[in-house]
Symmetry: C2
Subunit: 344 residues, 2 copies
DNA sequence: ATCTATATCCGAAACGTTTTGGATGGTTAA
DNA sequence: TTAACCATCCAAAACGTTTCGGATATAGAT
């Protein structure tokens, strides 16, 4: 690879001048610049990014760590988010360093990436209670931005982009109530997930608003994967056969719920309504199509990246805590406008 | 951030000794090492990755560039591949630099990443004819590995991992023929895509084997997206209503084909069989579920990453051109074992 | 002729590591 | 007693940039 030095030797100018010529400084003679540019082009010069990063102490790179237990690496939420973030990152002229971390030592990836100065800022997703990643980043003063605020009872003293999931689950629950459902189960995420509280609150609030009793037995937890949805649904339906609707807190669990319902010989939508959250690509094509709450991943990614870059460049943030309004997407799984074309 | 220098000052040893102590060299007194380690721990020392990269001329990072036209950034193929590669990369202790490139200048991302020494090796996907990326990487002698070989009539003189798509499409076509279909259309990818030739060959071979005529009119091209599948199917079915089956060369186009068929008032599977390729997550949940050919993305990612890392570390490659056998996945969209539960 | 301003250039330091090639002092073998 | 050896340490160079603070020369002003 050609270096500045090579161009300097070939043109007879100093490394400094070559560097400044290529960087567009105006204290270099136009003729000189042309010569240098010609030689640089001829040699196929490409600046060494690493050296540049070391000297200028910035990398023009954002980092994101995705969990990848053997079980979870194909998590649709992360793959959608990753695409949204990747898209936005590219459009801002940054690169994206993805560290799929094996679960053994959660923080090591962050230390390597952040402490090792590999990125100018990081994006954190799926916030947990007392999230150690946030604590670490705040302590070491590194730029970061979070997809999803803290739990309702914790402070969110950092920039974030989140969807108002209380509102989202509220809409979904209202919709079910409007369809006549009175016994509605809910499958929450594990309680250490930060947004769990918001989703529960949305569910409770909708019940209260409709003067329906809140039954703690109707609330269970699942692991955000399809299996979790299956198990949780089985438990709910065997203990509470009076349930006519199940609100799952993400699409993966909703799909699991549909599996269980169908396996029990019931009809999704007609016998038991099911709703999800996220609107992953699968949701539209589920059988029956899944009523859910849309997370605008592209928009989320865009906001995250813009916020983070402003933070890095020390520009004014504007609104640094962005709460997006979710959109209810009504499909057949909740039994509304049921075309009744399913045969058992 | 604490540097080696800080530890050196605090312990009274030289930077060299500190470096060597932490790196585990055996020419440092055990006592000294303990002191240094203690101080390093106390200061929360984290080696500066960029400096280390510059000095040692390696990054322990792999690169992948994903296309992200506004239209295509949510390409399921890439998101599945990305997950597979990310997973494997993490397990090998490497990081992954993802550059979602905006389409304007295709090679610029490669030049920046590769020429700029940001990565030790890159993964290329969706090979095209006369692929300029491969030419560039071969010319500058950088380590790379390819997901998908060259077109049949071009040499594949580089390490790759590919699925035998001739065999895959052959299996699919055979299966359709076995179900009694005699007029089978095929939606190929654009002809500049390298694997297009293999898929066409698989189709042709299956026809020949069954003594069926090859009808050039039954062959059309689509843009690998759902819209392409829709348009192509519309053209096929309006010009050749005798078709009873359509082989789409990826799942996205197959889903589009299903849309069109249903929009024309026909039943997928019963009236017109449809098959895909890739087995993206959606395929299983399509309506009806899509018969397709599985691409084992995780396995592909694993092979790609292992191959690339061996290349980087100059270890013997073993088999450097890996052709995986695809697996036919039979679902309802081709009308086999049709439960006939669909109502029109 | 001297001074100032301007245009153009460059040496050297710095970014934080790793590694090379000794230096130092003590211990052992002859 | 001297040479050889070992254990332990370190100064300095190198990786390839960017940038600070001048240096030099030429032109114009006085």
């Amino acid at each position: 690879m050609a270096k500045l030095k090579d161009i300097a030797q070939k043109t007879g100018f100093s490394i400094t001048t070559v560097s400044r010529a290529l960087a567009g400084y105006d204290d270099v003679n136009p003729d000189t610049r042309r010569q240098i540019e010609a030689v640089a082009m001829g040699l196929g010069y490409q600046p060494n990014g690493v050296a540049r990063q070391l000297r200028s102490q910035k990398t023009d790179t954002l980092g994101i760590v995705i969990p990848s237990d053997d079980t979870r690496f194909s998590d649709d939420f992360f793959s959608e988010l990753l695409m949204g973030v990747g898209y936005a990152t590219a459009h801002m002229g940054y690169d994206l360093l993805v560290s799929a971390q094996t679960s053994d030592d959660e923080m090591s990836a962050y230390r390597r990436i952040v402490g090792g100065n590999r990125v100018d800022g990081v994006i954190i997703a799926r916030t947990r209670r007392h999230d150690p990643r946030i604590a670490y980043l705040q302590e070491c003063g590194h730029a970061f931005v979070v997809a999803g605020r803290s739990a309702p009872d914790e402070p969110s003293n950092f920039p974030y982009v989140d969807v108002d999931s209380q509102d989202g689950i509220g809409q979904v629950t209202n919709h079910l109530i409007g369809l006549g459902h009175r016994h509605i189960g809910i499958i929450l995420p594990p309680s250490e997930i930060a947004y769990t509280g918001y989703r529960l609150a949305g569910y409770q609030q909708a019940l209260i608003h409709a003067h329906l009793p809140y039954q703690p037995h109707y609330v269970v937890h699942g692991d955000l994967r399809r299996e979790g949805g299956r198990d949780a649904t089985y438990n709910l339906l065997t203990h509470h056969p009076q349930l006519t609707a199940i609100v799952a807190c993400n699409d993966a669990m909703a799909l699991g719920a549909m599996n269980t319902i169908q396996a029990m010989g019931l009809r999704v939508g007609a016998d038991v309504a099911v709703t999800g959250f996220d609107n992953i690509a699968l949701a539209e094509h589920a059988h029956p199509p899944l009523t859910t709450v849309r997370q605008p991943f592209v928009e989320i990614g865009q906001h995250l990246v813009e916020l983070l870059i402003r933070l890095i460049q020390q520009k004014p943030l504007g609104e640094s805590q962005i709460l997006l309004s979710p959109m209810l997407i009504i499909r057949q799984s909740c039994g509304a406008d049921l075309p009744r074309t399913e045969s058992p």
